[in-house]
């Protein structure tokens, strides 16, 4: 492949991953098969809440091709521990035990009650249907407020309550006093619906037992092979040293594969029991029940301000739907947004707290943005409400409240130190690109002529914190894992390079960006670099890929390892050229003697002599190879301004996009093509959230949006083209100046869309508008506000 750019970092370098993916040679879990492999299928509860009276697996066991059929009780001896939740957010949190297969009670529709194993996918499916389960249905609870009522059915009787915990940020300043005295108080209530992540590749697992060694290799469609190795060793009792986890090609995650699932533990346990390779592939409708959901948060948001719109205090109180059990980090998700309800604005006082509540629904957990979309939605919608209240333009209210530009750590109202930011610059650029003044004129003209199609303009000036670290801080907030990551760089004797990373990409293109970093650092051709990831047998210990952390943590570790290789090579070059290290210049992989540039050594030459080790300086080990670990001193804080213009048909409630402009700031950019791709994709997911998607359960806990037929994942027809631009404010958190960008679009977009629709409808008196803004919902909002069946104001 011909690469047009000379210096890779910052260039629009085409992806290494693409040629295999475009020709059908990518190998995802379902593309793998092993000799003697058998298939697992899971028998799932059709009820949201029921006592299990009896499980009869005998009819399945007797079917052709069936090699095992087992109930929760049959499997109980397999577990050394329950499925992990690694974020018990408070000391007094009520933690239910979560076993891979339910034993006494099912607690959500889709809860596993038995498994069958057969010699083919189809036979396993047939056998699962033959398992007889006798249930005693119980009343279900699906609403977070109802779940906290005295007489609510209990999801976990042994806990005595559905309320698991309340976590408080602790507050900054005099919150009560400021609200009591403030001339303007805005109170808003927002419901953030449950969302179904819908990575296009469903989950899947394949486990191969190594017959002689007692070891196990697990291929899983996961974002977190490293975390899976540690935690699944604890669940199954398999020695961690005998467990290898591989994330092969993974078809998207968005947080839904940032988890440890029952099926992974089950395939391991069954492979151990049967001593055969065991495979399970999730069906899409199964995915809707058995893979985590996102969001599901009720938010009470209050702002205190002056008459002219200067922000004084923020108070946010949330009730978060945990679902029926805790998955890996379920209780901590709203905490990911705990320091963001003040946005990028100055204020004096801050309060945030949230309560986690169990319901008879699929467990919730991280979904793209995780906590930060909720926070950004709340503050950005409330800022618009404040602007309306004080009679100012929403751009103006934001501008007067922005934290001024800064390049060194600066405190947000929430107490966090942000790394760098220039919020006004991004807003100015976005306003210009959107043609804001023209849009406002057009909006007024439509109102004046009583046009049935009103125009609305929505602004969202977001900030988020990603690249969670340092590890000591994660410890302080009771998160069990660390925030560091690592990388190794090995220059081979022939000058080719092997790169090993602790990150685990599933669409982000790390093979490309990591190669760019190393190619520039070592002056080695891009195509001579191979990046190895997602296999615990070859990559260094790491913390995988989620939360927009890979570049800001793992990429920086890689840069550090690359620099170490250069330092080592310099020592060897100085020795071979018989000069002092300070007498060497280094450029593009070549050391040359100052003043005598013909006397030089290249990195590949040095890699060869370092491997021969015939003539090394004292104290220098053979080989050009180095590892580094980076535990960042702080988060990174990407920010940006998104502006959305919509046309709302007041007669039908239909919302059409006229314009979507996004100006993002993720600090230094390694590959602008990949950054733009992340932003476009993130915005699409945010728009989907704002306009189309919502998991709906009935009062019995039956998931009504149970497949892609009735849960609307938008297609190319629904998603508009966003105009993208960026500002560059390098992060002060890391030496590369980079910030995460994987989630920004999804964090920024929903309030931009909702603010636009609300802006269009506010002349009609519409004040309450919730996601998703479907035509029906818009039409009803208009009807409720005007008493009329739509039509112009």
């Amino acid at each position: 492949m011909v690469q047009a750019v000379q210096r890779y970092v910052g260039g629009r370098v085409l992806r290494k991953e693409d040629s295999r993916l475009l020709t059908g040679r990518g190998r995802y879990v379902d593309d793998l098969a092993l000799a003697g492999m058998v298939w697992m299928a899971v028998v799932r509860s059709p009820y949201a809440h029921a006592r299990i009276k009896a499980v009869d697996v005998a009819p399945a066991r007797d079917m052709p091709g069936v090699v095992a059929a087992l109930s929760g009780d049959d499997l109980a001896s397999e577990w050394a521990g329950p499925l992990p939740c690694v974020w018990p957010v408070t000391e007094d949190i009520k933690m239910p035990q979560h076993w891979p297969v339910a034993k006494d009670k099912v607690r959500y529709m889709g809860d596993a009650v038995a498994v069958v194993v057969a010699t083919s996918r189809a036979l396993a499916c047939d056998a699962a249907e033959a398992v007889q389960v006798e249930y005693e249905p119980l009343p279900a609870v699906t609403d977070v407020e109802a779940a906290m009522a005295e007489d609510a059915p209990l999801v976990h009787e042994d806990l005595g309550t559905n309320k698991s915990f309340t976590w408080s940020h602790g507050g900054v300043g005099d919150v009560e006093g400021t609200f009591a005295k403030a001339p303007v108080v805005v109170k808003e209530r927002y419901w953030h619906p449950r969302l179904i992540p819908n990575a296009m590749e469903p989950r899947g697992v394949l486990v191969q037992p190594g017959l002689s060694q007692g070891d196990f290799t697990m291929w899983s469609a996961t974002q977190i092979p490293h975390v899976a190795k540690v935690t699944l060793a604890m669940v199954t009792g398999i020695s961690e040293a005998k467990l290898r986890v591989v994330a092969p090609e993974v078809g998207g995650g968005f947080g839904s594969k940032l988890d440890i699932y029952a099926e992974e533990a089950l395939c391991l346990a069954l492979a151990r029991r049967l001593q055969r390779p065991v495979k399970w592939i999730e069906e899409r409708s199964e995915n809707y029940l058995a893979t985590i959901h996102g969001r599901g948060v009720l938010q009470d948001m209050e702002l205190a301000a002056t008459e002219d719109g200067k922000l004084l205090a923020i108070r946010a109180k949330l009730i978060a739907d945990m679902g029926a059990y805790f998955q890996l980090i379920t209780p901590g998700i709203p905490m990911l947004g705990a320091w963001l309800y003040g946005g990028c604005y100055k204020a004096d006082a801050y309060w945030f707290e949230y309560t986690g509540v169990f319901t008879n629904q699929t467990p919730t957990d991280a979904y793209r943005g995780a906590g930060r979309p909720e926070a950004t939605y709340a503050i950005e919608r409330a800022m618009d409400a404040l602007a309306r209240r004080v009679g100012k333009d929403p751009a103006e209210v934001r501008r007067m409240n922005f934290i001024p530009p800064f390049s060194e750590p600066t405190a947000l109202v929430t107490g966090l130190q942000a790394d760098s930011g220039d919020y006004e610059a991004t807003l100015d650029r976005a306003l210009e690109l959107a043609g804001y003044d023209e849009l406002r004129k057009e909006q007024k003209a439509r109102l004046d002529r009583k046009d049935a199609k009103l125009l609305g303009i929505g602004i969202s000036t977001y900030i988020e914190n990603c690249g969670w670290a340092p590890s000591s801080l994660l410890g302080a907030i009771r998160y069990a894992g660390g925030g560091w990551d690592s990388a190794s760089v090995r220059v081979l004797p022939t000058g080719k390079v092997e790169v090993f990373t602790g990150t685990s990409p599933h669409g982000q293109g790390h093979e490309t960006t990591w190669s760019q970093i190393v190619a520039d650092g070592l002056g080695i051709p891009f195509d001579d670099i191979e990046v190895f990831h997602g296999d615990t047998a070859v990559s260094p210990l790491g913390f995988d890929t989620y939360g927009s952390r890979s570049l800001a943590v793992g990429g920086v570790a890689l840069k550090m390892a690359t620099d170490k290789v250069v330092d080592k090579a310099r020592k060897l070059a100085a020795h071979e050229l018989e000069v002092a290290e300070v007498d060497l210049d280094y450029e593009s992989g070549r050391f040359s003697v100052k003043g005598a540039p013909k006397q030089a050594r290249s990195i590949p030459e040095l890699a060869f002599t370092a491997w021969q080790a015939h003539n090394l300086p004292p104290g220098l080990d053979p080989n050009l190879e180095a590892s580094a670990t980076f535990d960042p001193p702080n988060f990174t804080f990407p920010s940006g301004a998104h502006i959305c213009a919509v046309e709302v048909d007041t007669e039908t409630g239909k919302v059409d996009f006229l314009k979507y402009v996004a100006v993002d700031d993720c600090g230094t950019v390694i590959n602008p093509m990949i950054v733009d791709g992340q932003v476009q994709g993130g915005i699409a997911q945010g728009i989907a959230e704002a306009m189309y998607e919502e998991a709906i359960y009935d009062e019995n806990g039956i998931l009504l949006t149970s497949s892609m037929m009735n849960y609307l994942v938008p297609s190319a027809v629904e998603i508009p083209v966003a105009t993208l631009d960026r500002t560059v404010t390098p992060s002060s958190t890391n030496s590369m100046g980079v910030k995460g960008i994987g989630e920004a679009g999804t964090i920024a977009a929903p309030p931009a869309v909702l603010n636009a629709v609300a802006d269009a409808l506010s002349p009609l008196g519409v004040t309450d508008l919730q996601m998703p803004v479907s035509p029906q919902r818009v039409w009803h909002a208009i009807k409720n506000a005007t008493g009329r069946n739509g039509g112009p104001a």
Partner: protein, 168 residues
């Protein structure tokens, strides 16, 4: 359980096999022939990950039985590149960053190929409509649409050069 004999051409290669009548074409391709490039993303014919060409028409191979492909010419993603060279459409996907995780990509490429072969000078809107049955969760579609629009002129040249190649 009775089986039935099917004979068809897949990527230009004649294939004969005994299949269970209930076997879906997508599983015949993936598990019977080992052509795992074609993906399965749903169980409701909604996602288009399984799209292949049958006699030049793009079809969702999860909605067809293998026996329905008897006597037909099927092209999968594995049959698009020729002689180790990416097809202009595949190249356009790479150049326009029309893929991220790559899972929807085989289906997208096949849907686009079927469409472009009939509509050599498409508009953006018509491309979007043509892709309505193919879901992507990563890209937001912008770059997929760009890829297809960029491929159209290149493919016209390509198709002319190879007119008459079956299933091309």
């Amino acid at each position: 359980m009775g089986t039935r004999r099917v004979s068809l051409r897949v990527n230009g290669v004649p294939q004969e096999a005994e299949v269970e009548p209930r076997t879906l074409l997508v599983y015949f391709l993936r598990e019977g022939l080992g052509l795992t490039g074609t993906k399965v993303g749903c169980d409701t014919s909604s996602c288009g990950s399984c799209t292949v060409l049958m006699d030049g028409e793009s079809v969702k191979s999860c909605t067809l039985l293998a026996v329905q492909a008897d006597g037909r010419e099927v092209t999968t993603i594995e049959g698009v590149a020729e002689g180790g060279e990416l097809h202009p459409l595949q190249r356009a996907f790479q150049e326009n960053h029309g893929l991220q995780c790559g899972f929807c990509t085989p289906g997208m490429v096949m849907a686009a190929l079927g469409y472009l072969q009939k509509n050599p000078t498409p508009s953006e809107e018509s491309v979007r409509l043509a892709l309505e049955g193919n879901l992507c969760r990563c890209t937001g579609y912008t770059n997929i649409v760009r890829s297809i629009l960029a491929a159209a002129p290149a493919m016209n040249g390509h198709a002319a050069a190879e007119a008459g190649v079956p299933g091309g």
